[in-house]
């Protein structure tokens, strides 16, 4: 279970509070959506969960399966099952996709006490998972994300997620830059990973993605706090009425 209580976060470089007492609980087996206007703190929440530098947690708690994530290095969090699908996946010139995937997969397996995959074992798994995401294995021989389209980068993110077998998946605006076909493929990939052992937090600005990844709960994040929570119908309501009501509430 992901438990976030009264989380306060500010930028390290500036004296600017971004999350102002955010509380949220996502039980295993559930998919929760976080929706909110630009600047509400959605991406900050995603980055703080993954352990990115540049943010200071000034108050509150954040734990996964009862273990506090605060102060944990990003690689430790990954080993504990936290996975962040980036809004803007990075390009890594000079590092082949397969090398990157194998290094990452075996690093987390080692940390989790699982045997590392040999090259043939790894290739078998990656071929299987890549084909389901409509990713050509030749593409993975090229440097990570270099020259990829927006859709290809997002599919590559989901492939990484499938390979690392996380238990807490945080998807940061995975729908941004995707056309409808790419969104379907990505959503199928995400849905295939839904399981009773896995919690998912889907962060999005638009309701559209939630037609494909149907959430158990929807939360509205504005001005650094959860302003409202409800079932999947809340997303449809937001689509009609917009965020104006919550922005007003925040002010």
């Amino acid at each position: 279970m992901l438990e976030i209580k009264n989380l306060h976060v500010k930028l390290t470089e500036e004296d600017k509070a971004i999350l102002k007492g955010l509380s949220l609980t996502v039980p295993k087996g559930e998919v929760h959506a976080i929706m909110g206007p630009n600047g509400s703190g959605k991406s900050t929440l995603a980055h703080v969960l993954a352990g990115r530098d540049g943010y200071d947690v000034t108050d509150g708690l954040m734990s996964w399966n009862g273990e506090s994530l605060l102060g944990m290095e990003p690689e430790e969090r990954a080993a504990k099952g936290v996975f962040l699908a980036f809004q803007y996946p990075m390009e890594i010139p000079g590092v082949a996709g397969l090398t990157f995937l194998r290094t990452a997969t075996n690093a987390v397996r080692k940390k989790r006490g699982q045997p590392e995959l040999s090259t043939p074992e790894f290739m078998k798994v990656v071929r299987d998972k890549a084909s389901k995401l409509n990713i050509d294995i030749e593409m993975l021989k090229r440097p990570v994300n270099v020259g990829f389209s927006g859709g290809e980068k997002k599919r590559a993110e989901i492939l990484q997620m499938a390979m690392l077998e996380p238990t807490l998946c945080v998807l940061d605006e995975t729908d941004s830059g995707l056309d409808i076909d790419a969104m379907k493929i990505v959503s199928e990939g995400v849905n295939a990973l839904r399981s009773p052992d896995r919690a998912m937090l889907v962060i999005t600005h638009y309701q559209r993605l939630l037609d494909y990844i149907v959430p158990d709960r929807v939360h509205v994040l504005a001005d650094g706090r959860i302003q409202a929570s409800g079932g999947k119908e809340l997303a449809l309501e937001l689509e009609r009425s917009g965020y104006a009501e919550y922005k007003g509430k925040a002010a």
Binding site: A50, G51, R52, D53, E73, P74, E75, R77, A78, A79, F83, L84, F86, P89, M90, I92, P93, G94, V95, T99, F100, T103, A104, A107, V108, K111, P143, Q160, L164
Partner: protein, 461 residues
């Protein structure tokens, strides 16, 4: 000449009288020449040139920061003393050439090798011994050199290095490799030239190699400079290379140094027409290294594709200096230099490209990039384009940067530990230069050295 322990002053006629005070090393070098002059190989023709060269050195001294080409590598300040001339007597059981090749170029099947220990011939095999009984050692040929060799030596000594270091090499060189590749001969696997120390503590070594590649020939040359007994060396290694019409030459240099080593190397290359020349220089360590390439395009439609990768730590100093002279038109030059600098290491790139007035349709591009692993590291980059023709495409760029925090986070968020994430990023950075090596075995060997350097603690978390 100076007496022992007396610093000699030389008056030089200038508008203002300037007094040059010789450093201890400069005085020692001049005295050393007087001591060994009679023993140096070669007939009267060579002795006259040696004598002129030491005179030139006496007049100008060691290169220093007032000499523009040596602005960042001040040997007058950096070379505190001259190590005694290494005699080439092997101090004990060193490593065999085969063992050194296995360490430096694992997995590479050489077509032949020639080995020099402190300038002394230490064995050769393969192509170097196959055709006739001609020795691959310059020392054996200097008594009555073939006409081409003598002409090339005379040219190289006159023009291929007239600064202090070039003069010293011309005065002192006693041996080197001579290789004459016949026209149209194609040799698939590398020819390896090993230059190692022969033990006996500190020493200085001067070598000059002369290589001629005939028209249409195809060859991969590998020059390896590394320790054998881990005795500190001051090495001056000059290579003169003539590339014939339509020939294809890959030319790799590997230099590995430790803190007290000084290596000054110069490649003096002339390219005939329609030739392809692919030099690559890999330098590792914490010594002082200067790798120079002076290349002249003598014939049209030729290509230069230069790559260099260096990884320096501690107080290492690695200087890559290029002088590319587009004398004729329709030639292409590419240079990519990438360096990784840790601790208080310093990297230097000087890239001068001259496009002569009639060298139309010249296409030249240059890039120098440094990755700084430490706040104390320094990278100095000085690209210089001198373009006298009007129908050319030339460009250059230079960057120096630290590891990208966003990329590091991305890798760590995927579970890759910090040290490993740094290694991956450094490897990918330096790998772009190493990828210029087309020969699979050589490329893998060079990449292996980069990984070994990283694993030796240069990306510690």
């Amino acid at each position: 000449m100076a007496q022992d322990g007396v610093v000699e002053a030389l008056k030089v006629e200038r508008p203002m009288t300037v007094q040059i005070v010789r450093t201890k090393a400069e005085t020692a070098l001049i005295q050393a020449y007087d001591a060994v002059e009679r023993e140096l190989p070669g007939g009267a023709w060579l002795k006259a040139r040696r004598s002129a060269a030491i005179g030139s050195f006496a007049a100008q001294g060691l290169p220093n920061r007032r000499v523009e080409e040596w602005k960042y590598t001040d040997l007058r300040a950096g070379l505190k003393e001259m190590y005694p001339l290494a005699t080439g007597k092997v101090g004990g059981a060193g490593h065999s050439a085969e063992a050194i090749i296995a360490r430096i170029l694992p997995g590479v099947e050489a077509s032949g090798f020639v080995h020099l220990e402190d300038g002394r011939g230490a064995g050769f095999a393969g192509i170097f011994s196959s055709k006739d009984d001609t020795s691959p050692y310059l020392a054996d040929l200097l008594g009555s050199p073939p006409a081409w060799l003598r002409a090339e030596l005379e040219r190289g000594m006159a023009t291929g290095g007239t600064d202090g270091i070039g003069s010293l090499n011309a005065a002192f060189f006693a041996n080197g490799v001579v290789l004459d590749i016949p026209s149209r001969l194609e040799i698939d696997q590398p020819l390896v030239m090993l230059f190692t120390d022969g033990g006996e503590g500190r020493g200085s070594v001067f070598s000059r190699s002369v290589i001629r590649v005939g028209d249409g020939a195809k060859v991969t040359l590998v020059e390896v400079h590394c320790g054998n007994f881990a005795a500190a060396r001051q090495v001056s290694a000059a290579t003169q290379l003539m590339v014939g019409r339509g020939a294809m030459v890959t030319h790799i240099k590997f230099v590995e140094t430790e803190a007290d080593d000084v290596h000054t190397g110069k490649w003096d290359v002339r390219l005939g027409s329609e030739a392809t020349y692919r030099p690559f220089q890999m330098t590792l360590g914490s010594g002082l290294v200067r790798n120079e390439l002076a290349l002249s395009f003598d014939g049209q439609h030729s290509t230069l594709d230069f790559g260099a990768a260096f990884l320096a730590g501690d107080r290492g100093h690695i200087d890559t200096t290029l002088l590319i002279d587009h004398k004729v038109g329709h030639c292409t030059s590419r240079e990519l230099v990438k360096g990784v600098l840790d601790n208080a290491a310093r990297g230097i790139f000087q890239g001068k490209v001259i496009v002569q007035p009639n060298a139309q349709k010249t296409d030249g591009k240059q890039m120098a990039q440094a990755l700084m692993l430490s706040a104390d590291a320094e990278f100095d980059s000085k690209p210089e384009l001198e373009i006298y023709a009007d129908d050319v495409v030339c460009g250059h760029g230079s960057t120096s940067a630290e590891l990208d925090d966003d990329l590091l986070f991305y890798l760590r968020a995927r579970g890759i530990p910090l040290a490993e994430a740094k290694s991956l990023l450094v490897e990918s950075f330096i790998g772009e230069a190493i990828d210029k090596v087309e020969h699979d075995g050589l490329r893998e060997a060079m990449m292996g050295h980069a990984r070994r350097w990283l694993a030796a603690g240069h990306v510690g978390a």
